[in-house]
Amino acid sequence: MIQVLSGQLLIGLINGSFYALLSLGLAIIFGLLNVVNFAHGAQYMLGAFVAWMGLRYLGVGYWWALLLTPVVVGLLGIVFERLCLRRLYGLDPLYGLLLTFGLALVLEGIFQNAFGISGNSYPVPALLQGGTNLGFMYLPRYRAWVVLVSLAVCFGSWFVIERTRLGAYLRAGTENPVLLQGLGVNVPLMFSLTYGYGVALAAFAGVMAAPIYQVTPLMGSSVIIVVFAVVVIGGMGSILGSILTGLGLGLVEGLTKFLYPPASDVVVFAVMALVLLVRPAGLFGRAR
């Protein structure tokens, strides 16, 4: 009994780590660029696929993939921002959402053509195979690693944004980009780098997810809708808020899987409806 519960809670915690990483990236991008990056799920999928293709065709192992994939996918994101997204600043933010939705369809379609919709598995790196018996449950080493690293990256990003000079620029740009540019900061470059960083976070999550879930072209679209609900629940105003909401909802999902499995797919959306009733601005959001 306790073993099943803690097993489900662990799965919830892992899902929650991915929700946190993804909603953090969304929040950073939205904060500065005022764009909801619908392609976030596709970029997460892209990260997993780049790692998988690297291993299969070039023999690049997990550790190098973890380092290189976010750079590669982040650069692709910057190219996309420079060529396309940049043209929509100043318009209704809905257009940014629609443009990135189009990009998500293109990426999903390309990979579906190339690799079909069946899953490809990615091996757990040798160093992290096996696990530890904690007495009340068995803890696979790789899963513990995922939770720890996600938390480290999330809180590292939070620290950089809230406590460093670079983060101060970012926060100033979120408040008023025109004024910041007037003070001599290269704001367009900052926009590109911020988008690239958000996309790199998604790709990083994708590489981490590859050994846990199957690598499929559709892995992104199913997760992004949940992450959107997480963002609505948490409100995009606060970095820490989106991290905590992501983790919390992962746990709620895990708990639901234990209590009443059929409801686990819809529980996040039910929570979203509840939050809209009680606190429409989101748990950590400022009313606008």
Partner: protein, 310 residues
């Protein structure tokens, strides 16, 4: 805003004529599919084009109504008219619930909320015992209309669908050109100002949402009868994306745009049906091109061209 009245009248006449003769030129099932999705996109346009609300979950209303109609006609043996009515009403009811919650936020949050609710409907449809899960509802009978006219042939079915389409389109057209529609446009242009003028903006938005959901439901009910099935692809979020594309491509905020967009998107999907996932890639590419270079859509560009020339 000055309305190009003669152009609209000509467009109307052309549309009616085209609709009456279409089944003799193209495969009737294709034409019916276009009509269903044109009504769906027109209902969606009432929300996006005229109220400024982007719903990313409209497939929920299309799909839910398709399933309810299927259940009513096949499971309970109700006549066709009652089945369509049941589908339309259930979609409107669903719209009332989702709308009341979603309009508490605006802009991009509204889009994400409706997407989430639609995904919830998707999972419910997938898991409920009477929906046939992955297979969907198959073999929905097309019985007799009012007990008199048999609908099993494609030609009578076409004219039935066409009549319903015209009725639905007329409701949308009247809504747009009523004082109510003017208030919706005022909300789209400047919501704080509409509030300051004393309009209860939330009630207007909610009513627009319910009308849009109900008519989307009617489109779904018709679609279920045309194909004699209700499938998961009707509730899927790709469908919600497709209806946005139809509206955007045809021209949002124009009465005819969504129908033109529906014709093009359904045509494209049919034409590319054999090429696997390239449909997705090309759909996405057209999407990006529309947003980047072509935000007024086809009908919007034509209207702008005519206005400039005369």
């Amino acid at each position: 805003m000055s309305r190009p009245v003669p152009l609209a009248t000509w467009g109307y006449a052309l549309l009616v004529l085209l609709g009456l003769t279409a089944p003799f030129f193209v495969y009737p099932v294709f034409a019916m599919n276009v009509l269903c999705l044109a009504l769906f996109a027109s209902a969606f346009n009432l929300l996006l084009g005229y109220t400024g609300l982007l719903s990313f979950g409209h497939a929920a209303f299309l799909g839910a109504a398709a399933y309810v109609t299927g259940l009513a006609v096949k499971g309970w043996g109700l006549p066709v008219e009652a089945g369509i009515l049941a589908g339309t009403l259930s979609a409107a009811l669903l719209g009332l619930v989702f709308g009341a919650l979603a309009i508490r936020r605006s802009g991009i949050y509204f889009a994400m909320i409706t997407l989430g609710f639609a995904q919830m409907v998707y999972f419910l449809v997938l898991q409920m015992p009477w929906t046939g899960g992955e297979d969907g509802l198959q073999g929905i009978p097309r019985s007799r209309l009012l007990g008199l006219v048999g609908l099993s042939g494609n030609l009578p079915m076409y004219y039935f669908v066409y009549a319903l389409f015209l009725a639905g389109f007329w409701v949308i057209y009247r809504t747009i050109h009523s004082p109510f529609g003017q208030v919706l446009r005022a909300i789209r242009e400047n919501e704080p100002r509409a509030i300051s003028l004393g309009y209860d903006v939330d009630r207007y938005k909610l009513l627009a949402f319910v009308i849009s959901a109900g008519l989307s439901g009617m489109a779904g009910a018709m679609k279920a009868l045309v194909f004699q099935s209700a499938t998961l692809s009707d509730v899927d979020w790709h469908r919600s994306g497709a209806v946005i594309l139809m509206t955007l491509l045809g021209g949002m905020g124009t009465p005819f745009g969504p129908s033109v967009g529906a014709l093009l998107v359904v045509g494209l999907e049919n034409y590319l049906a054999g090429t696997g996932s390239w449909v997705t890639v090309i759909t996405g590419g057209v999407f990006m091109a529309c947003v980047l270079a072509f935000r007024r859509g086809i009908v919007g560009e034509v209207v702008a061209l005519v206005k400039r020339s005369f």
